[in-house]
């Protein structure tokens, strides 16, 4: 029966073509549908007037803000929902849609693909971002410009601080607004070691490692593992005798000091965990080596020190944070708004809400689950009650945190952005691969 078969094949092919055509049309339509209010939002967005904040708040009412945020920590997820989701809904009539990511680069790729496909409005409103991901989106010109210094709460932010207006050495301009701060610190286990046995400089660390072979390692520097890059940069600062000279890029300076850096790290290498044959790829891998007693130190960026890690059960309860006497790199992390964001007004309200002094005070407390430091400059807060809350929170950090004066004494800014890839590529070549 040739005819029915032919007819069936024809029907099948036809159906398939229709399905394919529908698929082809889908991507352009989906984001618009998912952002229910985008039809009204687009014309309003174009007219957003940051000088008239009430008009922004009015435009934001009823919107859903899609916040793409690293979702690897349950406690941070809960903090975001409780401390930002609730006030957004109750005070501003905004729904917070937290989109958890395995890695922030996924949000970057989402926005870049949307740009390639010409999708506007897109799916992403806000991204928790800094460093290389910021650089990628800035390079692709996919960030909403000229807003972060115009927020009402930008008055609390010290925009004259290079650690704030430079993100990994890259000028922030008005492209992102700070959320919190972090500083490189080590973690040790007070049940295993006394505080006075701790190394307090890179030179002492080398001595310590020689006396305790196999008990120390650091995170492999590279894109996505900035903690490792920071560890290496700190060594560079100490070996070259200062951090400030690295704030602007100077190839000759790098060429002069890089050999010393590789020599130091190669001298350290045989005394590392697994003799430097391999390195942990990220913070979590190092935490588990530390918790399993394979190594004696871990690394964190949280101002609350080991506190948030203890409450997550990643490290023992006796874990404590500490710093060297100098060259512990600190930085800020930010919120950025995608250029094709469907709900820009709501995104602006969220970025502004995050800088409220009460919420800033809440974010540093380990029991709230976030544990990163202030984005605002406490001295700029004039309201007495708010100031008291900020100071009280600072005083409550507890034993697992590095004392505030140690942090302040050792704090240095990150080096100019150009050094990032020099350090990472040079480390792979000169230390990991070696001769």
């Amino acid at each position: 029966m040739p005819l029915p078969l032919r007819a069936r094949i024809a029907a099948l092919v036809l159906t398939l073509l229709i399905v394919l055509a529908a698929c082809g049309a889908q991507p352009a339509a989906t984001p618009a549908q998912s952002a229910a209010t985008s039809d009204e939002a687009v014309p309003v967005t174009n007219a957003l007037d940051l000088a008239n904040w009430d008009s922004v708040v009015a435009a934001a009412r009823g919107q859903t803000v899609n916040w793409y945020i690293w979702g690897g920590s349950e406690s941070i997820n809960r903090f975001v929902d409780d401390f930002y989701g609730v006030p957004l809904r109750e005070q501003y009539g905004i729904t917070l849609n937290r989109v958890p990511l395995a890695d922030t680069v996924d949000a970057v790729n989402q926005v870049l693909s949307e740009k390639e496909a010409g999708v506007d409005p897109g799916a992403v409103d806000v991204i928790w971002i800094n460093g290389e991901n910021f650089l990628s989106l800035k390079q692709a010109e996919m960030l909403y410009p000229d807003w972060s210094r115009e927020l009402p709460n930008a008055q609390y932010v010290d925009w004259d601080n290079p650690a704030i207006y430079l993100d990994f050495g890259e000028p922030v301009l008005g492209l992102e607004s700070p959320w919190s701060s972090a500083q490189f610190q080590f973690i040790y286990d007070s049940a295993r070691m006394e505080a006075d046995e701790l190394p307090r400089s890179y030179a002492e660390l080398l001595e310590w490692a020689k006396a305790n072979p196999g008990r120390f390692t650091y995170i492999a520097p590279g894109p996505g593992a900035f903690q490792g890059t920071r560890f290496v940069k700190g060594a560079l600062f100490e070996l070259s005798g200062g951090a400030d000279q690295w704030l602007s890029f100077d190839q000759a300076l790098w060429d002069e000091h890089a050999p010393q850096l590789w020599a130091y790290l190669n001298e350290l290498k045989p005394y590392l965990w697994r003799a430097g044959e391999t390195y942990p790829a990220d913070e979590n891998e190092l935490h588990s080596l530390f918790a399993n007693s394979e190594v004696d130190f871990s690394i964190t960026q949280a101002i609350a020190g080991a506190g948030p890690l203890i409450s997550e059960g990643l490290v023992p309860e006796t874990a404590r944070a500490f710093v060297f006497d100098d060259y512990m790199i600190g930085d800020f992390n930010y919120l950025a708004i995608a250029k094709n964001a469907p709900n820009k007004a709501a995104a602006l309200v969220l970025a502004n809400l995050i800088l409220e002094p009460e919420l800033q005070a809440a974010q540093i407390l380990p029991e709230n689950g976030f544990g990163l430091g202030y984005a605002i400059d406490v001295t700029r807060v004039t309201d007495a009650a708010q100031l008291a809350a900020l100071n009280a929170a600072q005083a409550q950090l507890g034993a697992a945190a590095t004392p505030a004066e140690d942090l302040a004494q050792s704090l240095v800014g990150d080096s100019a952005g150009e050094y990032q890839s020099l350090v990472e590529a040079g480390w792979r070549e000169n230390v990991l691969i070696g001769e």
């Binding site: 092919v13 196999g214 044959e277 792979r428």
Partner: protein
């Protein structure tokens, strides 16, 4: 529809169309990006610079390329060879016994297919790492003083952990293929050989192997291509250096410097070429047999 070959093509058309459009478009984009066509940063000039960079070791990606290529070939070659041998012996043993393989045995082999690679890799890590279950048991029993003295079996420089992973996953897969072939052949050939006085080794070598070789070779090629281009297991069970090609390619594709993407794509296409080359070699040898 008198023409049978036209009929075959028409029946295949729906499937071809889907793979053609989806796969073809990705390959097209991959080639374009490897040639430096990166519309996201407004780069539209085409050149072979990325290929030159990785092959001439001009950039860091290039300096790792040959080590990564060697590592990937070693891991996928060794794992494929061991899996094929293991599968052949397992299948021959299962079908050689007087009673047919029990349902539970087949179920165990099938269940392995449903277990994701990622899950199995993490299980191996929890078992074999130096702070893993076995290290702790050995330390508790006093066989070693510290868990850290446990031999390095995963995240080792030679890819032993990765090979162990794939061998344990692919033996059941290939064994199922071989068993399916053997089931259609029945036991008659081996039975005849046995009555003529052939021992088990001779039967395997002279009877079973020639019967299953075409199917086993095709399956082994599939396994090789899969392992050679796999990302997650080498990423989990591998070391920082040398890395597998797929890990290297993704690292460069995700590099914050968007212009590095071309190099990541070039590495991916080099991987594809190697797989196509191995498949071609397999075909040539297959036809000569």
């Amino acid at each position: 529809m008198r023409n049978p070959s036209l009929r075959i093509w028409l029946t295949l058309a729906p499937a071809l169309l889907v793979t053609g459009v989806l796969f073809g478009a990705s390959v097209f984009y991959a080639v374009a990006q490897s040639l430096g066509y990166l519309s996201i940063i407004g780069e539209t000039r085409l050149s072979f610079a990325a290929y030159g960079n990785v092959i001439n070791q001009a950039t860091v990606a290039g300096r790792e390329l040959w080590a990564a290529l060697g590592f990937s070939l070693w891991v996928s070659g060794a794992a494929t060879l061991l899996s094929a041998t293991g599968a052949l012996i397992l299948a021959a043993t299962l079908s050689g016994s007087a009673t047919p393989p029990r349902r539970s045995t087949l179920l165990a082999l099938n269940a392995n297919l449903a277990l994701p690679h990622l899950v199995w890799a993490i299980a191996l890590l929890l078992l074999f790492s130096q702070s893993g279950l076995l290290a702790r048991i050995a330390a508790a029993l006093g066989l070693i003083d510290l868990p850290a003295e446990f031999p390095v079996l995963v995240r080792d420089r030679y890819g032993i952990g990765i090979i162990v992973h794939y061998v344990s996953k692919e033996i059941p897969f290939l064994a199922l293929i071989v068993l399916a072939i053997l089931r259609t052949q029945g036991n008659t050939y081996t039975a005849v050989a046995a009555t003529l006085g052939a021992g088990p080794w001779v039967r395997l070598r002279r009877v079973t192997l020639p019967l299953v070789l075409p199917g086993l070779a095709a399956g082994a090629l599939l396994v090789f291509a899969f392992i050679f281009s796999a990302y997650e297991v080498p990423a989990l069970l591998g070391v920082s250096y040398p890395r597998a090609l797929a890990v290297l390619a993704l690292d460069y594709f995700l590099n914050p410097d968007l212009s590095r993407r071309a190099e990541g794509m070039a590495i991916s296409l080099i991987m594809a070429l190697v797989v196509v080359g191995v498949a071609g070699l397999g075909r040539v040898f297959g036809e000569r047999e």
